[in-house]
Amino acid sequence: MGTVPENDTLEKNSQHMMDRNGRVWLSGVGLMAIFFAVLLSGCDQTALNSPYSRAESEQNIVYSSFSERPKHLDPVRSYSSNEYTFLGQIYEPLLQYHYLKRPYQLVPLVAEQVPVPRYLDAAGAVLPEDADEKDIATSEYEIRVRKGVRYQPHPAFATGKGGDYTYHSLSSDRIAAANKLSDFFETGSREMTAADYIYQIKRLANPRLHSPIAGLIGQYIIGFKEFGKEIVAATEKQQQATGSERPYVDLREIPLEGVQQTGRYSFRIRVRGKYPQLVYWMAMPFFSPMPWEADRFYSQPGMDKRNINLNWYPVGTGPFMLSENNPNLRMVLERNPNFYGEHYPDHGEKQDASTGLLRDAGKTMPFIDKAIYSLEKESIPYWNKFLQGYYDTSGVSSDSFDQAVQFSDLGEVGLTDAMRKKGIDLLTAVTTSIFYMGFNMADPVIGGESERSRLLRRAISIAVDMEENISIFSNGRGVAAQGPIPPGIFGYRTGAAGINQYIYDVVDGKPKRKSIAVAKELLDKAGYPNGRDAKTGQALTLYFDTSSAGPDGKARLNWMRKQFEKLGVQLVIRATDYNRFQDKMRKGKAQIFMWGWNADYPDPENFLFLLYGPNSKLEHGGENASNYNNPKFNALFDRMKNMSNGPERQQIIDEMLEILRQDAPWSWGFHPKAFSLFHSWYSNVKPNLMANNTLKYKRVDPELRSKLQREWNQPIFWPVWGFILLLIVTAIPAVMVYRRHERSVAK
C-alpha cells in the first residue's frame, strides 16, 4: 500500500514535480548534446569510425586481422597457418622460399647456403651425389649460419654489472608480481650462433614439448629418440632434486649424436639413409634458433602459472617482434631493432618487373614499422572495415563474393566496378592443398582391389561433379583435381598429359567430365545395373560419413546425395561430430568421406604419401585416410620419395598417378583457389603459399591510405539531428496533453 501526502502540500508537490520533469527532460537533451559534443571533439571528424587513433593511421603500419586465437607460439609445437602468420615474422629458420620465383624455390635465410647433403656408406666412406640409395647409410648436412644476427631485446638476455643474468634466478615473490613479460623492465640481446639451432633441434626431441614432427624427424636424425629418453631421465632427476614440476634441464649438456656443433657459426646434422625432404623442414619454424637463456628464463617455477612462457612470448631474430600479445583483441608486431637487414630480392619471374614487384629490388627490409592484427570473428565487420580502408588486405568470403568479384563472358575472374573504383586489386592463386572425397579401401563394398569395387569407385568419381560443386559452394574458387598433386608442385602435369582420362575426356586439350551414361555403364559392369545389386536385386546403399551437419553442410550433403542419385545409388548421410568422425576414421569404420591436406612443403612426396600403404590410418595411425595399399604404388613411392626432381622422378610419378587413377581410392576432389584483395596503398604483393615470412616484403603508403580513409569515411550527421528533431516534435503534443491534463487536475 502506498502512502498519500497531506492535501495542503499537493499543489506544491505537483508544481515541484512538473518543474522536475522539465529539468529531467532538459537534462536529457543536455546530456545528448554533451554526448555528441564529446563525440565530435574527442575524435577527428574524418576518423569517427576509425578503429585506430589518428596517430596510428598515418604511421607506416600494416593493418590486418585474424579470426582465431593462435594456440601455440612456441616454434617447437606450432604447426598451423594462423600461428605461422606471427611466428614466420619473428623466428628465422635456416632456409626460406624465394618470394617471387615459381615454382617454389628454397633459398638461404640464416644459413649461408642451402645445404647439400654428403652421402656416406656404412663404413663411413663418402659416396657420389648420384649414389644408389641402398648404399647410403648416412647423409650429412653441413650448415653454416650468418654472422652478426642478433636476437630481439628480451629480459632473458639482461645482465647485471658482473655479467650475471638479471632474471635467471628470480624469487617466487618477484615472479608472482609479474603478469606480463614487460614487467621485467631490463632487456638485453646477443648474437645468434649455431648452438641455438642445435638447442632447438634438441627441444624437438623433448617429449614434454609435444612437437608434432618429433616422430617423423626421429626416424631420420641419428640418436634423436635416444636423446628424448635422456631428456626424460634428466628431467625426472631434476624434479626429484628440486621438487619443481617443470625443472630446467640444460640441453646443452646432453649430447645429441646426430647434431654436432663444428664451429661458432656451423653445425652438422646427420640423418639415417637419404632424406632430401629435410631441407624443406629447415624452412619451417621448427628449425628456428632458440637461445638457452630464454628456455632458462621461462622455466623458472611460477612463470608458466603467470602465463609467461615461450607459447606466449616468442624470442626471435626475425624482422619483427611480438610487442603485444592479446589474442582476444589484437596482436602487434613491431620492427626488431636488432634485425640485421635482409635485402629485397632483385629477380623473380618474367612479369614481376612489369608489375612493379622489383621496384624495391636490393633495398633493405622490412619496409614497415609495425603490423597490427585485430581479432575479427565475424566476416561482416571484417569485410566492411576492409571497404572503409581500415584493413589493408582481405580475403573474399562467400557473403561478400558477389560484391567483390564478377566473371566475364569468357569466365575470367575480375573485380566489380565498385571495387575498381576504390582502387582495390585482386590476386588469385591455386593453393597447394587438396580437398578430396575418399573411399575407405578397407570397406567390403566400396573398398578392396576387386575389379567390381574399382569400377564402382570410378563410376562414382564420374557422377560426383566437382566442377558443379566448386561453382555452387565455392563461387568457382577451385580447380577440379586430376590427381593428388596440386598445380605448382613438381609432378603436376598441365595439358592433356595431366588429365585423368578415367573420369574426363580430353576435348581441345581440356578436361570434359565423362557423361553419366559412361558412369552407368561402369556401374553395370561392376554388377550394379541401375544402382541395384545384380545378384540380390537389392538397391545399392552407400554411406557418407561427415562431421559437417550445419545449415551450410546440409546443402552440400543434399547436393552429394543427388550426385549418387544420378546413378540410382542411395546415399545415406551419417553426420556426426568431429570427434566421432575422427574416431571412425581411425577405426576404419567410415565408407565414403571428405578430407583435406595442406602441403607442408612443395614436394610431391608430401601428397603421394597420403596414399602410401605403410602410412594407412587404420593399421599404422598415419595420414593415409582411405587405407589404400597397393604394393606396386608403394614400391614406386619408395623409389620416388628420395629422388631429386628430374625426368626420371617425373616418369615414376606419372606411373604412380596412373595406378591411382585406375584404382580410384579417391574421387580426387579439388584444389581451392585463394582470392585476396588489397588496397592501392599496399604493394609488393605476390601470393606465396609456401612462405610464412612475407610481411617483411610488404610496403604501405600511409599518406595515401590516410587520404583515402578520410575521403571514404566522411561522417554524416544529418540523420542524427533529424532523429533528435523527430523526438522533439513528437514530444511536443505529448507535453501539451500532459500540461493540459495537469491543469485540468488543478481545477
Binding site: 569510425n49 594456440k71 602465463n307 583483441l329 561482416i380
Partner: protein, 325 residues
C-alpha cells in the same frame, strides 16, 4: 538475516556439486580425454604416444568418476572429476588445458564485458521505465496502443538484426563510430557507443512491456485511486507512488541479473570484437578445454545463486513487510 544467508550458502554447496557433476558428465559424454588431447596437439601428425603423454601430464589418464583400482578414498579422489573439480570450491580455477591461468584470464576479460553490460543495464532501465511510465500515463489512448505495437515489433526482431543493422546504419553508412574493435581506458568509449545503443534499443520492447504491465497493475489499485481522489497530480501519482510500489518486481528482475553481467554476451562481443567473457566459454567448448568450461559453469552457477540471494535481501530493503527467516 545472517542465519538465513548462512543457510542459503549451505544450500548452495550441493547445488554446486550437482552442477559440477552434470557439467562433467555432459562434457565427457561428447569429448573423451583422447579427443581433447588430439584437439590440443593439432590435426596433423599426432602420434598415439603424444596423446598418452598429453593425458598423463594433465591428469586425464585417470578414470573419470570412480577409480576401481585404487584403495580407500582414492577410489573417489584419484579420478579426473575430483582432481579437476575439488579446487573450484576454493575458487582456485587453476590452469586451462593450454596452460593459461584461468583466474587471470577471467579477471582480464570481465572488464570489457562489464563495460558494455553496466551501461546497457542502467540506460536500458532508465529508458524502459521512462517509456513505460509515459505509456501508463497515456493508457488506453492511441499512444498506448501504438506503443504496445511498437514494443511487440521491437521484441520480434532478432538481436542479430539489431547488431548487423546497427553496424550497417551507424558505422557503414553514417561513419559515426567504428564497426568493431576495442581499446583500453578512455579509448574504449567510441567502441562501446554502438553496442550499448543496440543493447538498449534491443531491450526496449520486452523491458517496456514488462514495466508497463507492472505500472498498470499498480495504477488500478485502491491507494492510487485514493491519491487521485485527494487531488494529487498524475505525475506525482506515477513517480511517487506507482513507481515506488512497482519496484519489487523490477528489483527482482534487475538484482538477479547483476552478478551475471560479468559473464558477458556472446553475440555482441563476437560481432563487435569485444574481448569479454561472453566468448570465453564458447571458445573453450570449441577448443575442448574442459578446465575453462568447468570453471565458467561453476562461476556462472555461483553468481546466479549469489544473484538470487541478493534479490531476497533486496526485498527486505524495498518492502518492510518482507522478513527473511
Amino acid at each position: 538475516m545472517m542465519a538465513y544467508i548462512i543457510r542459503r550458502i549451505l544450500y548452495a554447496i550441493p547445488i554446486l556439486i550437482g552442477v559440477n557433476i552434470f557439467t562433467f558428465v555432459l562434457f565427457f559424454v561428447v569429448n573423451t580425454p583422447d579427443d581433447m588431447a588430439r584437439m590440443h596437439l593439432g590435426m596433423k601428425r599426432v602420434t598415439p604416444e603424444a596423446v598418452q603423454n598429453w593425458k598423463q601430464e594433465r591428469g586425464y589418464n585417470r578414470p573419470l568418476l570412480y577409480n576401481s583400482k585404487a584403495e580407500g578414498t582414492d577410489k573417489i579422489t584419484d579420478t579426473i572429476f575430483f582432481q579437476k573439480s575439488a579446487k573450484l570450491f576454493q575458487f582456485d580455477f587453476g590452469s586451462s588445458d593450454s596452460g593459461r591461468d584461468i583466474g587471470y584470464d577471467i579477471s582480464q576479460r570481465m572488464w570489457p564485458s562489464l563495460a558494455i553490460a553496466i551501461p546497457v543495464l542502467l540506460v536500458g532501465l532508465l529508458v524502459n521505465i521512462s517509456y513505460a511510465l509515459l505509456i501508463a500515463f497515456f493508457r488506453a489512448t492511441y499512444i498506448d496502443i501504438w506503443s504496445v505495437v511498437l514494443c511487440v515489433v521491437l521484441m520480434s526482431i532478432s538481436g542479430l538484426f539489431y547488431i548487423i543493422g546497427g553496424q550497417y546504419l551507424v558505422s557503414k553508412l553514417l561513419h559515426l563510430v567504428p564497426i568493431s574493435g576495442y581499446a583500453t581506458g578512455m579509448g574504449a568509449a567510441k567502441f562501446l557507443i554502438l553496442p550499448v545503443i543496440i543493447g538498449v534499443v534491443g531491450g526496449i520492447g520486452a523491458g517496456t512491456r514488462w514495466y508497463r504491465t507492472l505500472f498498470l497493475e499498480e495504477i488500478n489499485k485502491d491507494y492510487v485511486r485514493t491519491a487521485r481522489a485527494k487531488g494529487l497530480s498524475e505525475s506525482l501519482v506515477l513517480f511517487r507512488h506507482v513507481l515506488k510500489n512497482a519496484m519489487i518486481p523490477i528489483l527482482t528482475g534487475v538484482v538477479v541479473v547483476l552478478p551475471l553481467l560479468f559473464m558477458g554476451s556472446l553475440i555482441t562481443e563476437s560481432f563487435f570484437g569485444i574481448p569479454g567473457l561472453g566468448s570465453y566459454t564458447i571458445d573453450a567448448i570449441s577448443r575442448q578445454d574442459f578446465a575453462i568450461v568447468r570453471s565458467m559453469v561453476f562461476l556462472g552457477s555461483v553468481l546466479y545463486i549469489f544473484g538470487l540471494l541478493l534479490t531476497d535481501i533486496s526485498y527486505t530493503m524495498v518492502d518492510p513487510r518482507v522478513r527473511l527467516s
